[in-house]
Symmetry: D2
């Protein structure tokens, strides 16, 4: 922690700050300049609330000097984490594709779409069985029936399953059917839920909250890691800004930033980021070019009848064509798809 004293701070005020810091167990180093005094406070207290010092008289500013996360940080674990699930790797050189409908709607639908997913070369089938919906009157998902259908469809086409878990009480049930737990943007700071997922053995994909800083996102990953589950990867899916043409603003620079700060894989979801079908292909291409370790894309073969988010789903043909373009882009930066 670094404490900047006000220009006019008195010696008594400075002494008082030092006393407080030492009281909290910090080692104190003082630098006295012509204009300002700076105090360096060294000690391992990652969660110290710096405002405790900033409200003391004579203090102008306080800066934390350690990241508040450890297990998730690149300095703790220098090499990229690669998550292995059966023969699939997330975070390796291959860019991993996940695709499927927003919601599992019925047996036909999920089998038809699983076939397309497999055809594209993607290895992971996505689909919602429990849906977080803004309105209490919207379709809330098929529940366990949806999980069963998705598992069967995935097994038939040799795919892995990823699906969202919304509450602690569902973890055990969902674990029986899925290969990867998905934590949605709205639950990124549902600390009770993510703590519990930290005690499971299955990989967790943690979506970024719509107003979460990259640091808060990594702090939520830390919750899972600190509870014992090391198989965490992140998913950028757009943040909320003043621009309203797209549903969210796709923050693609989060990808290289996460790669710098953390060893965890990070993928991108252009479907939720944009919310509009015709924006998905350019943004999917951009995400791969920016270095994403994977993509999650919503597809549907009858989007007008989809029970949720039809308008952002790609049609099968568009999706297959997009995957071809993505392969060329991956190649341009030395990766495969």
């Amino acid at each position: 922690m670094v404490v900047i004293l006000e220009k006019n701070a008195t010696p008594e005020q400075i002494e008082n700050v030092v006393k407080h810091l030492e009281g909290f167990g910090f080692q104190v180093h003082k630098s006295v300049g012509a204009e300002k005094t700076i105090i360096g406070a060294i000690g391992v207290k990652p969660n110290f609330d710096t405002r405790t010092i900033s409200i003391l008289d004579g203090v102008e500013d306080v800066y934390r000097v350690t990241t508040p996360f450890k297990l998730a940080s690149r300095s703790f674990h220098e090499k990229n984490t690669v998550i292995k699930i059966k023969d699939v790797e997330i975070g390796g050189n291959q860019v991993m594709l996940m695709a499927g409908p927003c919601s599992v709607e019925n047996e036909d639908q999920i089998f038809r779409l699983a076939e397309i997913v497999a055809k594209s070369g993607a290895k992971i089938l996505r689909g919602g069985a429990f849906k977080p919906r803004t309105s209490p009157y919207s379709f809330q998902g098929l529940g366990e029936e949806g999980l069963k259908l998705m598992r069967a469809a995935a097994d038939k086409y040799n795919l892995l399953v990823i699906t969202e878990v919304m509450q602690i009480a569902h973890i055990e049930l969902i674990e029986r059917y899925t290969d990867i737990f998905q934590v949605g943007a709205r639950n990124m700071q549902n600390f009770s839920l993510i703590k519990e997922l930290g005690t499971t053995n299955k990989p967790v994909m943690l979506k970024r909250g719509i107003a979460a800083t990259i640091e808060e996102w990594l702090m939520s990953a830390e919750y899972i890691l600190a509870n014992g589950n090391k198989n965490v990867f992140l998913c950028e899916r757009g943040i909320r800004t003043f621009e309203s043409y797209t549903r969210n603003t796709f923050d693609l620079s989060a990808i290289p930033v996460v790669h710098k700060k953390s060893h965890l894989p990070v993928i991108a979801d252009p479907s939720h980021a944009t919310g509009l079908r015709d924006q998905v292909p350019p943004m999917a291409r951009a995400a791969v070019a920016a270095g994403a370790d994977g993509l999650m894309i919503e597809i549907h073969d009858d989007p007008e009848k989809a029970l949720s988010d039809g308008p952002q789903a790609l049609l099968p043909d568009t999706f297959l064509k997009l995957v071809d373009e993505l392969k060329l882009i991956a190649q341009a930066i030395g990766r495969t798809i």
Copy 2:
């Protein structure tokens, strides 16, 4: 719903849009202008995803014309909702004060602070027993022990209790000790939790999510109302913006907007909105002047030793002085405190 066709939309495209709308059960009214055709689609489908139409060929824009919430809307229930708990009313002419520490820390602390709360004339004691913390390494609250202490302190000083519930599994436990459930900003869209709270009998205070629009906030209130609990009130506590000097940006204009759109009471929390003690009094005054039905304020008599959020807690003397000012401001707009 209103559908605006593109200037160059063909008759076939327009016909196709009409067919789709009728297929979804809407009554269709077409207005043909020199430049544009507009289609009014009438029908009660509050959750219809307008993007389903916006992706059709020839469509330029689509607007929803009904609010997506009903039970929470002023047009459904014209008179202000007044929530009565024992002899306390929230949403009436009196501006209701809630105060107390961020976290219950020990017996002494909560009894000392409850005494100050009672002395100020406030009727409701706040305090956290289960704390949502960004870091897994921070103090997470005393749990049930905290609930017991707060209940005892409140009873001694004839106060009501409000405390946060973070997960479904805690509802029953917390219900035994509290008079009001608090849903925190991070859980505003934890739909599983709020749905469950809709089945209880106790009033629920729903904090606004840091990136929630006013409409989304009212949609979350709708979840609680639709599940049977009519005693919901709202709490503005700051939204996330680019300005970083204050922890959040206190969106005080949300207060008159909620009063216009909804019959539910709305209070304000200047402590979390600003995150800095010296900002709390001016913002508390501003909230009352803007028409808030109540205030939630954090206080502490030894904030440097507080286990959480000490820097934003008011000292008892500052708090008592502030309440005197607030009384004058309430009076200036024809209310009491």
Copy 3:
């Protein structure tokens, strides 16, 4: 400046950082901890681009420790600046009211409205003669004719005039008619313009840009002060956020923040902040309660026919009633109106 080295920084990297800092003329103080090394760099270089150091190998973070503005800072000038224009003071104990139409439209209109402004007790008449409009097809103001009419109306009712200046070429012309130059939100960082206004003798009201941090706003004030004009005051008028119900989000906490960081007066404009007439009275009351040194309010007696921004203008009766409430609120915090 404070430089935080990475945990794994090598002695060579640290030495290189020190060399660079000394090369830029900083005095260097090193604090070596078990986990981290911190370097304090003391020296008066308020505009040093800290990124120059942050890109060196081994550097984790760099913090500036001096505010980038000087003349505008509270530490440079401890007492509040009070701007005197004839018998009017801005920044004193009295909260100063400015009111008038968005645009000067014709002689009748401005004289009628000036009469109402005078009747309310406000001392300053606002009105636009040169209007910054988002659309090239909107009414752009009456130009010099508008200035003449406003001056005449103000003189008749013993009011001061404030009006916006949009370009350097208009400064001389406007100076002949106005008592205060207004710089609009869109021009807050029109550095050419504000530099030039720094060389005039008339007070300048600097509106906050819709996406300007408080620091950037004070930096723009610094431009005017540094060019010799000490009569600068600020005007909060809402910032752009994700919330779209109101035109902007009125950042009232900027008022106490500016008062803490700077000696310059700060007023508030609830008309532009909210953009909706029925939001203006509660937000005007809130601004006074938060400590604003003045208010700028748009009024119109025939808002449906107003050539610009009619929908946010208060009707004369509402305005006069509001001023009565504001007087009580000012009194509650020990001020007058």
Copy 4:
């Protein structure tokens, strides 16, 4: 325009709205549903302030149905605009590269960097001679001397010149040296300046303001087009959001949105969008993958000594390597560089 009446609107209120609309010259179409009445108001008034109607009694909401810009819209001009300057085309199939230093610093520097620009295959040299700086104490550019040096360097290496114009008084001077006028983000709504640029013959690159919606950006382009200059192209350079790790949030989805709404070319500036050298290559690649018609990239061969923005400048070698990657990505989407 579409007007939605409140559920409980009286026939008199509806009649009053109709009367107003007709008074403003609109053709009115009424659709009466069980729940709501909707009024379609047809007529060519692109700048009508819809709030004029929204404040009438009984009105719930009002939507504009025409875009407020015309000349800039895709519906006005279906084919892509391609701007030709000598043998260079902006907006064609080739992705156009512009590169150079943030500021022209001296003869040696600009000639050395122009050589690198030419070597990369880029056709346009960028460089600032008049610099908009947040601080009045920062380097403000070499002025005319800078223009001369840049012109000479560009001529030697057969490059075009693009440079920023900050005020009307400089237009004539800068026009003598540059091939393209650049309007910076802070001046996007400096309407006096852009109106004047609309009367020149040289192409104008209009950067997006940091808080400008895509619609406002196109409205500013409309100002230039409406004043007669048809050679306008746009530059996305990041918007301001809550995320502070990068200087701005690069809104790459603006690229396909602009291509949909408008016929004007749109390029991207990853240097200003991210503000950090190591973010520039991934974001440059992403911009090309997203469909940008060009890139503007800052380079420097001694960034530690750069007089402005050194930390975001690419080193020559990194730049040349990046261009090679960009060529492959352009090829993947059927374009060239």
